[in-house]
Amino acid sequence: MAAASRAVETARRALPYVVVGPPIIHRGPAGDVHVDLPLIYQGFALDRIHYDPVSRSPSPKGRPVHAMLRDVDPSSIAGEAEAILGELRVLDAAEYRGPEAAWAVPVAWRSFIVAHIKVSGDGGEIVPDYGLTEEVRRLVG
């Protein structure tokens, strides 16, 4: 499975160039707030990191935090987002996703996985999350 190793290496080479996009803040009908930090690479979103605005730290992938807060200031998250980004690391294994013909390489923050970087089946190219790219674009454009 040379392609898997190559995919991990590609994700590892991409990570230093990944930046955090503008925070995506969702407000639920019950007044809850849910914050995601999009990971951006070369203008395309790769995945989102769930962010806990109360503990001001990431939440594991698959466990978004719905905090009961009146408001969240996006600019206050920027500094923490940079710190989180600096602590991300690519794990040494990949999962193959058949329908997308791509490898999903896990990205961890401290002891848990927070995101995936998708890499093409041959392990050489980064595969964007087009839906999330649109969502980020709508926030800025």
Partner: protein, 367 residues
């Protein structure tokens, strides 16, 4: 009901410009009940069709990954030579804008600068601002470089070649200034390994490039509806999701801008002095762009400025985009996407604006 109201509030907060324009349209109706009936004519459907066609083609190109790969290649090749890297980023961003619109080029090159900034660990405020100034300035080279150019190209029924030839001296003046500015940027070499490429969607890239070429040719022949059909067909067949990615609220914003500023032009016709000389037209366009941004300024003035003055109008609107942050939507994208603040933007942009306006005035006086 409460949930619907909450959703509408959220949408209105997200789409602030669209909401303001929609409210303004509703407020204008009692002042002139004939407005809804005249809206289609004010929209200038042929001009609008050309704009939509270009936005479809440009979005397809952006999503194909082709511009991102080109930008990434620059970084891979020149990351050890900062001076050359910065100049190449600034000039490549401007050159891309001439083919895929200024805003789309910003969405490719600003993230690239963000990546460079991250691997260097040093702020690159000057480079961010120069990328924005470059897409605003060099996009004036072609009729498809930005929305105000498309408007002028179609409103005055110019050919693409006529437009490009008319704008060439002013574009070259802007290019010269950008080269001088970028030569002043300094920074350490990047030591990270080259970035891997983003996946290239070849069918979408080919379809979008063909659509952009088709829009330029058909738009010049007065076949704007055919251009729109061609762009939608090519991009839609290559990748249907790319059509869904076209910014629908932005299209609505442009439609309302065309209608409302067209109407404002009619109402203001007796109050605004109609520019009689090229210099007056350029200065009025550049000045008005600072107040209401360059696309609305162009729509408002195009109804008042005669065809013989289309060059100073286009020059003024394009140069005006490089002035105050309000001068162009591209500047607002810069401020929202990056950590550049308004004050830092103006510190770089205003001297550049003054120099470019001076050079353009000199060229107008000579020409």
């Amino acid at each position: 009901m409460a949930r619907l109201a909450a959703r509408l509030r959220t949408y209105a907060a997200r789409e602030r410009l669209l909401t303001v324009l929609l409210v303004a349209y509703i407020v204008m109706i009692p002042l002139d009940p004939s407005l809804p009936r005249r809206s289609l004519r004010l929209l200038e459907p042929r001009v609008y069709a050309a704009l939509v066609a270009l936005l479809v083609a440009s979005r397809g190109l952006e999503l194909s990954g082709l511009p991102a790969r080109a930008a990434s290649r620059l970084l891979a090749k020149l990351r050890g030579r900062p001076g050359l890297l910065y100049s190449s980023i600034v000039l490549a961003a401007g050159a891309s804008a001439a083919f895929m619109t200024n805003d789309a080029a910003l969405f490719v090159y600003l993230p690239l600068v963000m990546s460079v900034e991250r691997i260097l660990g040093a702020p690159l405020t000057g480079l961010y601002v120069l990328v924005a100034l470059s897409v605003n300035t060099l996009s004036m080279a072609s009729p498809i470089g930005n929305p105000q150019n498309i408007y002028i190209w179609q409103h005055y029924r110019l050919s693409a070649a006529e437009f490009a030839a008319g704008m060439a001296p002013y574009t070259l003046a802007g290019l010269g200034l950008l080269v001088v500015y970028t030569a002043l940027l300094r920074g350490p070499p990047a030591r990270a390994p080259p970035p891997p490429p983003v996946r290239l969607d070849k069918p979408l890239a080919a379809a979008s490039l063909a659509a952009i070429l088709g829009v330029a040719v058909l738009g010049s022949l007065g076949m704007q509806y055919e251009a729109l059909l061609l762009a939608v067909a090519l991009v839609g067949v290559a990748r249907p999701r790319a059509l869904g990615a076209v910014d629908a609220p932005l299209l609505a914003v442009f439609a309302l801008l065309f209608i409302e500023f067209g109407e404002a032009s009619r109402l203001a016709a007796s109050h605004i002095p109609v520019p009689a000389t090229p210099m007056e037209a350029m200065l009025l366009a550049a000045g008005l762009s600072q107040a209401v941004s360059n696309v609305p300024a162009t729509v408002l003035l195009a109804h008042l400025v005669p065809r013989r003055l289309w060059i100073p109008l286009a020059v003024g609107a394009n140069v005006g985009g490089a002035g105050l942050a309000t001068g162009s939507m591209a500047n607002l994208i810069l401020l929202r996407l990056t950590r550049v603040d308004t004050r830092s933007y103006h510190r770089y942009a205003l001297p550049y604006f003054a120099a470019l306006l001076g050079a353009s005035a000199l060229l107008l006086a000579l020409g």
